[in-house]
Symmetry: C2
């Protein structure tokens, strides 16, 4: 991509009503556009980051034999009435509307009931179990307030997976496998070391659910972590979980954190509510065990912005950055060399955002840093004369003057 061809522009200011740092920076850098409070469009750079996050999650869900599908946003009232979740008193985030014949419809804020209703058509026998399906769905939630930027929106992208099992043991074993898959996701996003599987409230169905919490000042949760960072507990269940684990809660230190995933065992509760069964080997109809697994894709993007950003802007981990290299040309000779370098790097599969604009060097450097591209590669007249390339790492600020061979070795291995 060439910066001169992008329709977006960086900006020194964000909308006055935007209080969240993630949204302020993403808007200023030209990654998202605010449609209304809690509703954002994703421009080419923002969409690239989203797709990179989705692809990592897709690979890890496929690795645990998840099958990708896409459900609908439009939801039937009948689908949700059986479990009592159509009622606005029970679920207060529904957007609803009506068909022309006055039939009420809802817009998917979640998809457990819809997925189970569909799976019921296909899963009849113990031979059809276990099975696991997932989707990347645009969820619509009528949130009262929306002040956290893309961390909590009225419209957002979530990966939700559902696994169906004949027995509790099978569900438990699969659930443990998904915990490992989730850990690999956070590792690959670049937030593995600061993300913890935590005990959280289980709601009506089970004593605890598991959340994945990332240490982050912008988080709305408080996590209690031990010195060895082997145990993490959500504040809301601190007493219960400490008792369950047999640990002294004084040994746990509080830290601010943001939820980046939530997994949950329904057991047979949802199937029993919905009357969803399978025929077991013994010829008896039995309720299906269900577990669900969510990662807020747009939320993860927001948390990563909040966590790594510095006073100069966003800092993307390499795995999800919209490009690996921000190429800056300075001067006539520099531009000529940069043009050729851009073509060569691109043909070698290195993703480059080339700032080919007729702009001041300082403006180019500032934009590359605001956009958070992992490496700024500078080609100026002076550097060309010296036969060198300047490579600066966004996260550390480390600068290296490299020969051409060193540059290619560095970029393809880093």
């Amino acid at each position: 991509m060439k910066v001169s061809e992008l329709f977006t522009r960086t900006s020194k200011t964000a909308p006055a009503d935007e209080v969240a740092k993630n949204a302020q920076l993403l808007i200023r850098a030209g990654f998202v556009y605010k449609v209304m409070a809690g509703v954002y469009a994703y421009t080419p750079l923002g969409l690239k980051v989203l797709e990179n996050i989705k692809q990592i999650v897709r690979e890890e869900m496929n690795a645990v034999h998840g099958q990708e599908i896409i459900m609908s946003s439009l939801q039937r009232k009948e689908t949700w009435e059986g479990t009592g979740r159509w009622d606005d008193e029970v679920v207060d985030v529904w957007f609803k509307s009506k068909l022309k014949d006055d039939t009420e419809v809802g817009f998917g804020w979640s998809h457990e009931e819809a997925i189970m209703e569909m799976m019921q058509q296909f899963v009849k026998s113990y031979k059809d179990l276990p099975t696991s399906v997932y989707q990347f769905q645009t969820k619509l939630r009528n949130e009262l307030r929306a002040k956290s930027g893309i961390m909590r929106g009225r419209e957002f992208v979530m990966k939700d997976m559902y696994s169906l099992h004949a027995t509790e043991e099978d569900m438990d074993a699969y659930y443990e496998g998904v915990i490992k898959a989730y850990k690999r996701c956070y590792e690959r996003f670049g937030i593995g070391a600061s993300t913890f599987v935590t005990f959280a409230s289980g709601g009506a169905f089970t004593k605890f659910s598991h959340e994945f919490q990332t240490i982050c000042d912008a988080g709305e949760d408080i996590l209690y972590v031990n010195d060895e960072q082997t145990v993490a507990v959500n504040e809301e269940v601190l007493d219960d979980a400490a008792a369950e684990l047999g640990i002294d809660k004084a040994s746990l230190q509080p830290v601010k954190s943001a939820e980046v995933g939530n997994i949950f065992k329904f057991g047979t509760s949802k199937s029993e509510q919905m009357g969803i069964t399978y025929m077991d080997k013994d010829g008896v109809q039995k309720p299906i065990y269900l577990a669900s697994y969510g990662i807020g894709i747009t939320r993860v993007m927001g948390v990563i912005v909040e966590k790594f950003a510095d006073e100069r802007g966003i800092v993307w981990p390499e795995s999800i950055a919209p490009a690996k290299v921000y190429l800056v040309s300075i001067g006539a000779q520099g531009s000529e060399v940069a043009d050729a370098l851009y073509d060569e790097l691109t043909s070698r599969g290195v993703e480059v955002l080339y700032d080919d604009r007729d702009a001041r060097p300082g403006e180019k450097f500032a934009d590359g840093e605001l956009m958070g591209i992992p490496y700024t590669l500078t080609v100026s007249d002076r550097l060309v004369e010296a036969g060198k390339y300047e490579l600066k790492a966004r996260a550390t600020g480390e600068v290296n003057l490299l020969t051409r061979d060193e540059l290619f070795a560095s970029i393809s291995t880093s």
Copy 2:
């Protein structure tokens, strides 16, 4: 993919209320699941077809320098009031709802106004033009009736692109380029020879728009085509278009067709309504020229099913099929060879749907044909003994007995 691992099942029957052949076949083959009238979920096989279609369109839109974005489903009332299109009397397909504070919101049935409102933030000067953006968006339309399966739904995926220009000449030139890009899309979908650029009604803004119409018995339009197939005109504008083109309308023959794309020059009308201008070289603010370009992704999928299906089921063109080869194993020795062949073909990048089920051969063949996979590859005990592989083409029924070398040569080149 292995058929034994897919959660979907083929079925001999479709829902009784489903009258459209495309939906009947797609449901029976396990490609889509009906949520309600006009609303479908896409299972792994169906999603694969959709993604294949999207990827072709993405490549062609990128080739004309379209920049991919994703807008929101939620729409502000104010965005659409300026052009009079918030009014249900004017646009009768809105789904609308309300935020908690009673603010009215709509769900995107189209995105011209939303995109132009966004572009206004970035496009300020003649230097920022031309520019072109597109998205693959889930559109929601409150259709009175929904009886055409995935050809016309209440929820569907559309690629919509919008190009912005400083002058009419520039818009016209770009528009011609997009016509060529669209032709390449239909060519690559496998419907190029039967798809025509046609004159259609232009609505309020221009005398004609252009539709892309594919000859198809299930189509809801009538197309008038000359013998040389160089001129195609929609029935609704037959008299006007014949006069404009200076041809005798008796020279045109009627044929049933389905719309698979629509492109349209707004000129400056939309910008004038919305007050969207750019600063020209002469320092004067001028309205921006706009053209829009739509392809219904799910619709194209439905039209292709309708057009090519035969009494045995779906017939996918190779470019969009969910797999190239349907591998059928028969017998113990056949299964052993098929297992190894599956691994080898997959590792060579050939997409294979492997029917490894313990089922009758006739059932496997019937499912492969119902699913429309381009080639059925059979490995039976008898064939193994003879050192042969049977390859049958879905579209033509042609059967070839091949040696191993011939098989690999055939599959990698066909």
